[in-house]
């Protein structure tokens, strides 16, 4: 079997003592959860290092070279424009282009970025602080909101919260830009408490109204589209939300009051518990143990909302190690894991847009186009919504279409017969077993091996010759069937 090239560079971590190696089982679990999908080669490399060393590298994404993604990003130059530049641009670019670029690049990064844990956390925060790209009026700011999420994804939640809540895209999405003293809109004030920080059941309707007052003044420059604080919109007078209270005596000082309010919310124990739960649900279990969530809550609070220590505590916990098989892959994760497993190299900027555009519609067909969830609570992160009959069908069809090289087509993918390289097999059963191992599917039972061979009208002991469909024109079917295995549906 030839080496699997995808992502192999990422796993060249500092050499540690041999005894510190985490081993294949832990490496497999870690890569299935903390990345968008493992490969046999990545597991082999990662198993020789320690969880701590792997995390230290991934938690410093700026230090990880990412040349393939850097090159591919040249296909989306619009993403480099500021909101003001995009708003002022008179070059006839269709405004929806900014959103298309964002979705396409998001998928590409998930598949090929070496900064895999960062990409996972960008996914998590993008949903926790969701700004749907279908929202009215965010088409020129949503890509810059993404840049903000990326900047803070492994930093402190307190910083992320301020940057997100005061961003033009969020203000537009939840209408805070038009809310002003005497003409209040509660939308952002409510979801800030219910979704972004304290969580449902931890605030009152009075708190919602006060929260909306506390956010007045946040607005946009109608000409440039950039953020603008408008003191003339500011509600003045004492504001109380739960245990936070401020005299709020001057419209001119409103922005500092807002920062104080958000700083309070970010450090509130309810917020800590909510963030800890989100992380545990993303990386451990749909129903994470309370012991773990409580411990992560403590780590979050004692590290002033810094995310990295929480992630370290999570991935080194006994609860994490005991959680193999407990999570279902989202459709996006299934697609990314499929492409990564097949060893498809990153396309060049010349073809990456067409390929990612195809992937976008594949994911849309399964209800999981990135950044597209319309309500403010973000995509669900538990199994139920992702295993409906329609979505299972979408997975099966996607596996066959991608593995066969039909659509979307990936530059550099040599087709299903390349997956096992030049290795040859004497029997169909041996081919099934080798392909299963290559695709990280558990070795098939006798019953399953027989059933898979029966799909090709052969038995496991039937010799392979130059006309055997499984080894020739129907190899894509074998790859697809093995990717349909429930071990690939889970992570």
């Amino acid at each position: 079997m030839p080496p699997v090239t995808t992502a192999s560079a990422a796993w060249q971590l500092p050499t540690t003592r041999k005894s510190a190696g985490m081993g294949a089982a832990v490496a497999t679990l870690l890569l299935r959860r903390a990345t968008w999908g493992p490969t046999p080669a990545a597991v082999a490399a990662t198993s020789r290092t320690s969880v701590g060393a792997w995390l230290r590298a991934q938690l410093a994404p700026a230090t990880i070279p990412d040349p393939a993604v850097d090159a591919a990003l040249a296909a989306w130059p619009l993403l480099g424009r500021s909101i003001g530049q995009a708003t002022a641009a008179a070059d006839g670019v269709y405004t929806g282009e900014y959103l298309s670029c964002l979705v396409e690049s998001t998928i590409a990064r998930s598949i090929w970025s070496q900064r895999q844990l960062h990409e996972q956390m960008v996914y998590l925060w993008s949903n926790h602080l969701n700004v749907s790209l279908y929202a009215d009026g965010v088409h020129l700011s949503r890509h810059q909101y993404d840049a903000v999420v990326r900047r803070h994804a492994l930093g402190r939640f307190a910083d992320l919260l301020v940057a997100a809540i005061t961003h033009p895209a969020m203000l537009r999405y939840l209408n805070a830009d038009s809310s002003r003293a005497g003409r209040i809109n509660e939308n952002l004030g409510r979801e800030l408490l219910e979704l972004h920080t304290l969580g449902a059941g931890n605030h009152t309707e009075t708190d919602v109204k006060q929260s909306a007052l506390a956010l007045t003044g946040l607005s946009l420059d109608r000409t440039t589209g950039e953020f603008l604080y408008r003191p003339e919109h500011r509600h003045v007078g004492r504001i109380t939300v739960g245990t936070w209270s401020h005299p709020n005596t001057s419209a001119a000082d409103g922005l500092s009051v807002i920062r104080s309010y958000l700083a309070h919310l970010a450090r509130h124990p309810h917020t800590a518990h909510r963030v800890a739960t989100k992380l545990a649900v993303r990386f451990v279990s749909d129903t994470p143990p309370a012991s773990l969530v409580d411990r992560l809550t403590e780590v979050y609070l004692s590290n002033d909302t810094a995310v990295a220590p929480v992630l370290t505590a999570l991935f080194t916990s006994a609860e994490f190690r005991a959680s193999a098989g407990a999570k279902v892959r989202t459709p996006h994760e299934d697609l990314a894991a499929t492409v990564r497993l097949l060893g498809v190299p990153a396309p060049t900027a010349a073809t990456v847009r067409a390929t990612m555009s195809g992937c976008r519609w594949v994911l849309d067909g399964m209800g999981h186009m990135p950044l597209s969830w319309r309500p403010p609570n973000g995509y669900p992160d538990v199994a139920g919504p992702w295993i409906s009959p329609s979505t299972m069908l979408g997975r099966f069809n996607m596996h066959l279409s991608v593995a066969s090289g039909w659509w979307p087509t990936f530059e550099g993918y040599q087709g299903p017969r390349s997956v096992l390289g030049t290795a040859t097999f004497s029997t169909h059963g041996a081919l099934v077993d080798a392909m299963a191992a290559r695709l990280m599917v558990p070795t098939p039972s006798t019953t399953l091996r027989t059933a898979l061979c029966a799909f090709f009208d052969v038995t496991p002991s039937t010799p392979i010759n130059q006309w055997s469909p499984m080894a020739t024109w129907r190899t894509g079917h074998l790859v697809a069937l093995l990717l349909d295995h429930p071990s690939h549906t889970t992570r």
């Binding site: 209040i184 509660e186 219910e194 067909g365 009959p389 069908l393 059933a451 029966a454 799909f455």
Partner: protein, 436 residues
Amino acid sequence: MTSTTLPPSCGCSPEAGLSRRAVLRALAAGGSLGAAYAVASEGTHSKYAFAADGSTGDTIVILSLRGGFDGISAIAPVGDPFYLNARPGMAVAPGSAIALDRTFALHPKMAPLKKWWDSGDLAVVTDVGQADPTRSHFDAMAEMERAAPGSGLRTGWIDRLAGARGTVDALDVAQVGSSSAPSSFIGPVNESVLRSIDSFSLTGAGTQAEVAGWARALTALHAGASAAVAGSVATLLGAVGTVSDVRAQVWVPHAEYPRDGNGNLTSLAQALADTARLIKAGIGLSVATIDSGDWDIHEGAGVNTTWGRTPRKLGELALAMSAFAADLGPHLADVSLVTLSEFGRRVSQNGTDGTEHGHGNMVMALGGGINGGRVHGSWTGLAPAQLVDGDLPGRTDYRDVLTNVLTRRTSTTSAHLSTAFPGLSTTTSLDIARQR
């Protein structure tokens, strides 16, 4: 009875039985592969109570208007003096509204529904709400679809109803038009989810033999899967053949559904058109659920404009519902559609040409067996003293609305209902639907 021919290793769920419903479906679908995945003897599993004529009652369509439907902009109480007081900038203008009675009028964009009101197929229920209101979208939706306030149940009401009625066939209950199930489906029964009829097919399986081959392999692959995944795959394999048969039938919608700017059916229209197609194919669909999103209009409602969000949303809804009724033709006699939303909007407008989260709401019921042309419920007006924290109260529990329709239009029994809606003890005088 004995089943038709089938390979023993079919892709069926182990407990799937060949109910009378499946037989009817197979006959309707030409007796081909659709029924082929359900293999068992009649009577073993079929708990469904059939009417004497063999029918199982209306297909119930639950249309969820997600985000908080502003009922009093759709069915506006223009005759209530407090309406204009509460919404000086966004009350439906009486001059353009379409009068229903002395109090209520349809928003002008709801005009396509007037003919169904006049024909007695469309009714309105006022002040509909939940026992335990909340202004959180997500809690309100979850509670509405759990439908078991005060209990610790985690399952959804449609799943409990299907379980109680003994529904076992893949296409008895289906979400149509989206990729994932509503939380009313949470629970042990495996309902179907069809994003669309046209997309519901296995790539690479062009013939029935190839579909059967994939079904056998996929079933073998999922032998050790979690119950949830394995159940979903079994449901998929049970439904895919039937849907293929439906797709093979010549289909021409008998109505003009609304389209988007690109000329495609809107997603709501596509979902309703597919539902009508399944109903007309006679495959035994008993409950269909459909989502319509983006009703959370906090600003830019523009109620009396052409560009506002409210008239655009109401226009699409009315056109789609009206086309659905017209498309069904004589089948409308066997269909009851009910609109639900997690909450209504605050009675008073907010500061940004929109409304905030509220509670009580308007429900629409559409179907041949509906006592239409009437406003049901217990409307007491919008005087501040009648409101609760600025909201319409939920004087009629939405579960009572559903109970009225289910008991009169389907063979749902009181025992089934006590499972679907545990603890619902209110007795109401609702008369929304006629006894079938």
